[in-house]
């Protein structure tokens, strides 16, 4: 679970000053949501791990420039979700890439009807649904995160949900 806003600001401040333990607290609080969001958009555990990890590495590189008055989560999720959308789009254009030496799953992946059908949506629709219903962002916040008009977010949410309803 992410810490309170005050905890988080303190973690960021001390991480900027070089405290590994505070940086680790920040990482532990945000890894789960970031990884889940990436996974639900790309539907590939290895890619999701790479994307979420790259998001954190990018966050490390920009840590000193980070404005502590702003929450860390949306900043990280913006990086991760945008990368996940790019990855999913690229894979759609290069379907051969997904079969190369993919490691076998260590255990069967969850086969939930809703999650399976989520994979049938476009990456853009998946992303807004994940941000809204998994990460609990409001449509306004999603619009800000993805730098899209709020109307576009609302229409993607509606179309995505309609499509899921039909499939289920």
């Amino acid at each position: 679970m992410a810490g309170s806003g005050r905890d988080e600001r303190a973690w960021v401040r001390r991480a900027q000053a070089g405290s590994v333990s505070d940086f680790e607290a920040l990482f532990r609080a945000h890894w789960g949501p970031a990884y889940r969001a990436a996974y639900l958009v790309v539907r590939d555990a290895a890619a999701a791990e790479d994307i979420a990890q790259e998001g954190f590495v990018a966050a490390v590189r920009a840590l000193d420039r980070f404005d502590r008055r702003r929450p860390f989560g949306p900043w990280l999720h913006r990086i991760v979700v945008n990368r996940a959308i790019d990855w999913a789009r690229a894979r759609a254009l290069r379907p051969e890439a997904e079969q190369v030496d993919a490691p076998a799953p260590e255990r069967p992946e969850r086969d939930d009807g809703l999650l399976r059908e989520l994979g049938g949506l476009t990456p853009e629709h998946r992303a807004v649904i994940v941000l809204r219903y998994v990460l609990d962002y409001t449509p306004g916040e999603i619009a800000e995160l993805l730098e899209l008009p709020r109307g576009t977010i609302n229409s993607r949410l509606r179309r995505g949900l309609d499509s899921l309803k039909e499939r289920l």
């Binding site: 889940r36 639900l40 290895a46 790479d50 790259e54 000193d64 999650l115 998994v134």
Partner: protein
């Protein structure tokens, strides 16, 4: 919707090992940039870019360049100022640039690194790590999920490549054999001796506590030549590379970098006189 993604906990442990290394190796800014106003810095950069687009603005930018010594930026990279060759990556792929300025697109690779003596290049694409000769011919390749950030180190007789794939740090011998994952190993890439400080819309390159080059806008990287006498400074605000000779001082600017190499050019290595 409460949901736990597959391998979430294992991935967290693996990712923490890598992110922790990145955190340990970060270069904290030398000034309290986090206390500055990011919006102000952004506005300064935006103003500089906007200024550069107008004829009067061009003269302002030109005067700024003159103030730091670049009176005549070359319109293209006609040659390198010192022996060696550059490895450049961009959205167009990986490029090898020779001393005489000739350049070859090795292919559509994402990341790249020279072998220790510059005889080969290791590069990555979607799901492959690839070793290439200077003509771009593939010597060997290995399929791994989304490999990235390869670093090729070692001696002439014993080399190895470290890279990241699927959240793990991996090592493979220079001949492509013996690929395996390692845990939390520190990478042995050369550390930069020069660093970039950005403040109030100005960037400066500091080496040994001394500012060796400054300019308006943002510098994104500094790379030292194989003989250590020159620095290459990436200056995306001006769409230039600036070659700085430390002693005796000389500055050579090269303009229109993105037109020559594609979007987001990055010098991945300067190797081997």
């Amino acid at each position: 919707m409460r949901f736990e993604a597959p391998h979430e906990r294992e991935s967290e442990a693996r990712a923490w090992a890598v992110v922790r290394v990145a955190y340990d190796e970060r270069e904290p800014v030398a000034w309290p940039r986090r206390h500055a106003r990011p919006l102000l810095a952004g506005a300064v950069v935006a103003a500089v870019v906007a200024a550069a687009l107008s004829p009067p603005g061009r003269s302002v930018v030109r005067s700024l360049r003159e103030s730091v010594g670049i009176e005549h930026a070359e319109p293209a990279l006609f040659s390198l100022p010192t022996p060696g060759q550059l490895l450049v990556t961009s959205h167009s792929g990986a490029w090898l640039v020779r001393r005489d300025g000739s350049k070859r697109l090795l292919g559509h690779y994402r990341d790249a690194s020279f072998s220790p003596h510059g005889l080969f290049v290791v590069a990555t694409r979607a799901n492959q790590l690839v070793a290439l000769d200077p003509e771009g011919r593939v010597r060997w390749s290995i399929a791994r999920p989304a490999p990235r950030s390869p670093v090729w180190t070692g001696t002439r007789s014993d080399t190895r490549i470290t890279y990241l794939s699927a959240g793990r740090l991996r090592v493979v011998a220079g001949d492509g054999t013996g690929d395996h994952a390692v845990s939390n190993e520190r990478r042995t890439g050369a550390r930069r001796a020069a660093r970039i400080i950005v403040r109030n819309g100005q960037s400066q390159v500091v080496l040994g506590g001394r500012t060796v080059f400054r300019g308006t806008g943002v510098f994104d990287q500094v790379v030292r030549s194989p003989n250590g006498r020159w620095l290459l400074v990436g200056w995306p605000t001006a769409n230039q590379w600036v070659f700085v000779r430390l002693r005796p001082r000389k500055i050579v600017g090269v303009a229109r970098i993105t037109q020559q190499f594609g979007r987001d050019p990055h010098v991945a290595g300067w190797c081997c006189a």
